[in-house]
């Protein structure tokens, strides 16, 4: 458990600074520091075990089915990295406390920092590569936040995005690579994977896995050609640069290569890819560093270069080279973090990091100078500092490695070292040596101990390791290199290898050459400045910005809000897919005997076809279009009647008229004509699409109509049970209110909701000033002066009760004959609408007792409760019951609970239709026009007119 605890501690600790910041900046930093320290102590407790060659494991099952488990392990390599992460982390926390301004949100900083620390620690402690992936991506995320910490800096935003794009993107390659790796092995546990070298390297998937994994590692560790993001990440506050971009995060890629070294290394592919990338990165990074003026940029490219060095060493694939790599990881972390912190100090003091504006700081900032001096010399590889030790070993390895030709590697490695000397010395010379200047943006001075103690401690390590390598570092190198190579390592580190060692001469060449180069700086600088070279940011932006722009225009083009196109695409897709599906199966022509054509049907057919086909031509006059639609809708009714569906005929007729009323109400607010907007080719194309749809559906209808069902339809049950089981002779009605009453339940609720929606939207519309203005300005053609004609009112006085009676009749007979609650509700609604048309909505509604909402509510409630009522009898929802009642002197009659359900249907339909139409007519109430106070406008009986 304890490894998991160590990994979890920073995450838990991430909560603290956010809270502790209320207690002050010291408390905030202390909270982060103490958590880190605690983790460090817990880690230290494991050191003996690891040094004794043991591997500490903690296993927690998380997602065993996938093989993703919270398995942790600690071996030498993990220990090395964990110590670095926590140790340097502790120093950074201290440093940052004094570095951040009071205006910077410190709580946030430490939260992000701790998140990062946890993620990084997770990477190096994971024994499961999927778990490692999770932490891997988390480092990308937290680094994104840290780089962008200074929100106001555009470089911060861009740098953060670039870093995330490169490392996050690389992480995606890594996902694929590790999944392949896990697939080859059959497990995602590192312990298992590391034991499967032969299987992995023999697999066909080895090369893809290798490339994908390396892409992940290279992007993270800023290896060529992915090195460009790191300098831009320098927009981050310096503690971040020191921590993430020199000591830890950028080494995650290195860690991964070292971690998988036992199973991936040793093949030509590995050598060629890794060593080459490392070599190129080393030389290139060092070269660029020499010409940079920004202190942090120098350090950034230097970091790139050193990471290249380590990568190259790992790429060699030998035990010795790997050991040197491990050693250099330690050394680089110490001097580079110290240098970054010092750069921050200079920036703080002089308000600039620009080497061309610095110089002469030696006297003004003696403490800082001391730190920088030692760290730079180490970086340059000057004895006896630790940088010298690992550089010598590196050159020795390079000298004995054949890459393209036997000497090419040695030559290039020496070149890299030479550049390294050059920029290290330049940093010293141009930053600190020479006479003090008078034109610093601010007068430089040494900071308080709070700021310099952390780099000083690191420099102390630089010196100690440099002087006493065997006492101070060898144990860690042995442990880590042992873990990397999988073999016991006992490193021998000496300052002097004798005159016969190639490294000595290479080193001397490098130092001398470096000094010469520094001397020639102005001239070289001019050449550099004139030479065309790719600028990373422009290249990256040149890649990403067009990508984003392309995405934007593509998205805008595809999702341009065109409904017509969406419909056209949908219709064609549906037709195409259906055709494809149809052709993929066998189809037999139907065998059903067909009905002879009768006269009535033929004429109705002809009318409907003609009306439908005329509509596309005449539709631009909207009243005409509505009339034609009405003709078609109306004529469907006799069609239903002919084909034995009286209930449908009733429903169709009543729905049709309500629809027409609704559309007329709506058309009042819309233009009366549709402008001619489509070109003839477009209309032709539309007609083509429509024809495809029509032919398709027509064909399907034909295919269906002419065949028998493959199995006996379930409706035989409904016909058989309609009377005995459901108590009604109208099988359609018993299906609606009983067998499938639940459908009807949903259906009336649809209608109820429709009305609510219409009401709600009309309310909203009336609240909008723009809408009310448009309503007041609706075009008003010449109008009838008689708003409520008397004769209509008088006729309605008779027709209304008649219609209501018809409604009641339709409702009551529905169970046994065509009709039912739905049609009855519509008939009632039509009757009421007649009244509204006659005397106006306001006048009529004022003399009425119910609110339409309540009707809908009761409808839903009655239908629901009728369903729930069955529970009382222990029966399922909507179970009906019926009985025949004898009540003298009446004839026998039937009482059925289905009638109660049908009453709910009735109420809901009535309420819904009335509410919908009332909402629309409310919109039409004209501003300033008072509602009528009498049922009709012209009353002949009034004497005084």
């Amino acid at each position: 458990m304890s490894l998991a605890l160590i990994a979890a501690l920073p995450f838990l600790g991430a909560l603290l600074p956010g809270l502790a910041i209320r207690a002050g900046r010291n408390a905030c930093a202390a909270s982060a520091g103490s958590v880190t320290l605690l983790a460090l102590i817990l880690l230290a407790l494991k050191v003996p075990t690891v040094l004794a060659g043991g591997v500490v494991h903690t296993r927690v099952d998380w997602l065993p089915a996938l093989g993703l488990n919270a398995n942790f392990m600690l071996d030498g390599l993990g220990l090395l990295f964990a110590l670095m992460i926590l140790g340097i982390g502790l120093l950074i926390i201290l440093y940052a406390r004094f570095y951040l301004e009071t205006t910077d949100p410190m709580g946030q900083f430490y939260v992000f920092l701790m998140l990062f620390q946890g993620a990084m620690l997770g990477i190096v402690l994971s024994d499961n590569i999927l778990l490692l992936l999770i932490f891997w991506e988390l480092t990308s995320l937290s680094s994104f936040l840290l780089i962008g910490y200074w929100k106001h800096l555009p470089e911060g935003r861009q740098g953060a995005r670039m870093a995330l794009a490169v490392t996050g993107g690389g992480g995606l390659f890594l996902i694929a690579g590790l999944l392949i790796l896990g697939g080859i092995v059959g497990s995602y546990d590192l312990t298992m994977i590391l034991a499967q070298k032969d299987a992995i390297q023999a697999s066909d998937w080895y090369l893809p896995a290798l490339i994908l994994i390396l892409l992940g590692a290279f992007t993270k560790s800023a290896q060529f050609p992915f090195h460009f993001w790191l300098p831009h990440a320098m927009a981050a506050p310096t503690p971040v640069s020191a921590y993430l971009h020199s000591a830890t995060m950028v080494k995650a890629g290195i860690y991964l290569m070292a971690r998988l070294w036992p199973v991936l290394a040793g093949t030509p592919e590995w050598f060629w890819i890794v060593a080459t990338a490392g070599l190129v990165t080393m030389v290139l990074g060092a070269g660029i560093a020499f010409f940079k003026d920004d202190l942090k940029a120098v350090l950034a490219f230097s970091t790139v270069s050193h990471l290249g060095l380590i990568t190259m060493l790992l790429g060699f694939g030998t035990k010795a080279a790997a050991t040197v790599a491990v050693f250099h990881i330690i050394n680089h972390a110490t001097f580079k973090a110290a240098l970054f912190m010092s750069a921050g100090i200079v920036d703080h003091a002089a308000h600039t990091r620009d080497l061309s504006r610095l110089g002469g700081l030696r006297k003004l900032m003696p403490v800082t100078f001391g730190i920088v001096l030692l760290a730079s010399l180490s970086m340059a590889g000057i004895p006896p500092l630790n940088g010298f030790l690992s550089k010598e070993l590196m050159l020795e390895e390079a000298a004995h490695t054949t890459w393209i030709s036997p000497w090419a590697m040695g030559l290039l490695a020496t070149t890299g070292a030479l550049f390294s000397v050059a920029y290290s010395f330049r940093l010293l010379a141009h930053g600190f040596l020479g006479p003090p200047r008078t034109d610093y943006p601010a007068m430089p001075h040494d900071p308080g101990a709070g700021l310099w103690s952390a780099p000083a401690f690191l420099v102390l390590l630089v010196v100690l390791i440099g002087v006493f390598p065997m006492a101070t570092a060898a144990w860690l190198v042995d442990a880590a290199a042992g873990a990397v190579t999988g073999q016991p390592v006992a490193v021998e580190i000496h300052h002097w290898h004798g005159l016969g060692s190639a490294a000595l001469w290479m080193s001397l060449t490098a130092t001398g050459g470096g000094l010469l180069m520094l001397g020639a700086f102005p001239r070289l600088r001019a050449v550099w400045g004139a030479a065309p070279r790719p600028e990373a940011k422009r290249l990256f932006d040149g890649l990403i910005e067009p990508l984003a722009a392309a995405a934007r225009s593509l998205t805008g083009l595809v999702h341009n809000g065109s409904f017509n196109r969406a419909v056209a695409v949908a219709v064609l897709a549906i037709a195409g897919v259906s055709l494809w599906a149809f052709l993929g199966g066998s189809h037999a022509a139907g065998t059903r005997s067909l009905l002879p054509v009768d006269f009535t049907s033929l004429s109705v057919w002809g009318l409907m076809v003609a009306a439908a086909l005329a509509t596309p031509f005449l539709h631009r006059d909207r009243v005409v279009a509505l009339l034609l639609t009405g003709v078609v809708g109306l004529l469907i009714a006799p069609l239903f009647a002919v084909f034995s569906a009286p209930d449908l005929a009733l429903t169709q007729i009543s729905v049709e008229v309500v629809t027409i009323l609704l559309m007329l109400l709506a058309l009042h607010f819309l233009p009366r004509t549709t402008p001619a907007e489509s070109t003839f080719p477009r209309r032709l194309a539309d007609a083509g699409i429509a024809a495809i749809a029509g032919l398709g559906i027509g064909w399907l209808a034909w295919a269906m109509l002419t065949r028998q069902p493959a199995f006996a339809p379930i409706s035989h049950f409904h016909l058989a049970q309609s009377k005995p089981g459901a108590g009604g002779t109208n099988a359609v009605n018993t299906i609606i209110v009983d067998f499938r009453g639940y459908d009807t339940y949903g259906e009336i609720i649809v209608l109820g909701i429709a009305a609510l929606v219409i009401f709600a939207l009309s309310e909203t519309l009336l609240r909008s000033p723009a809408v009310t203005r448009r309503l007041a300005n609706l075009p008003r053609p010449r109008e009838d002066g008689d708003r409520h004609p008397m004769m209509l009112v008088v006729a309605t006085r008779f027709l209304l009760p008649m219609a209501l009676m018809v409604g009641v009749y339709v409702y009551l007979r529905g169970h046994n004959l065509p009709g039912g609650g739905f049609v009855a509700g519509l008939v009632f609604a039509i009757a009421y609408l007649m009244q509204y048309m006659a005397s106006g909505y306001e006048w009529s509604q004022a003399r009425q007792r119910h609110d339409h909402h309540v009707l809908i509510g009761w409808g839903v409630l009655i239908a629901s409760l009728c369903g729930v009522g069955a529970w009382v009898a222990g029966l399922p929802f909507l179970t009906s019951g019926f009985d025949y009642v004898h009540l003298w002197p009446l004839e026998e009659f039937e009482l059925a609970t289905a009638a109660i359900f049908d009453l709910g249907v009735f109420l809901c339909v009535l309420g819904a239709v009335l509410l919908a139409l009332a909402s629309l007519s409310r919109l039409a109430l004209r501003t300033g026009e008072a509602p009528n106070t009498r049922p009709f406008d012209i009353d002949p009986a009034m004497r005084d007119r």
Partner: protein, 113 residues
């Protein structure tokens, strides 16, 4: 007779889809109405065509399949509700924006009033 119904369904679909491809809300709604006519008839056709056999028990010897009829009933009601909502949306869109185009993103700039 079957051919009549099938072709009618096809023609109604044709008109419906054609109107759906117009650029104003009102014809689009009419298109949906036509489409729903076609679909209701198609659903009805799932019960096949029978004459003089209304599914009223005791009124004839054979009965038309009552189930598709019940389904069509449901479909008619639902499409009525949907049309109603679509209609008020069209009205709302027109009142709120001053025009009744159905495609967004191609409205002319002078559509303020």
């Amino acid at each position: 007779m079957e051919a009549l119904l099938a072709s009618l369904i096809g023609v109604l679909t044709f008109t419906g889809v054609y109107l759906l491809l117009r650029q104003r809300t009102f014809p689009v709604i009419l298109g949906l109405t036509f489409l729903s006519y076609a679909v209701n008839l198609f659903l009805f056709a799932a019960g096949r065509l029978v004459v003089n056999a209304a599914p009223i028990i005791g009124r004839s010897q054979t009965y038309a399949d009552p189930l598709p009829q019940a389904l069509v009933l449901t479909a008619i009601v639902i499409s009525f509700g949907m049309t109603a909502v679509m209609m008020i949306l069209a009205v709302g869109g027109h009142l709120a924006s001053g025009h009744d185009r159905v495609n967004t993103g191609d409205e002319p700039t002078e559509d303020a009033g």
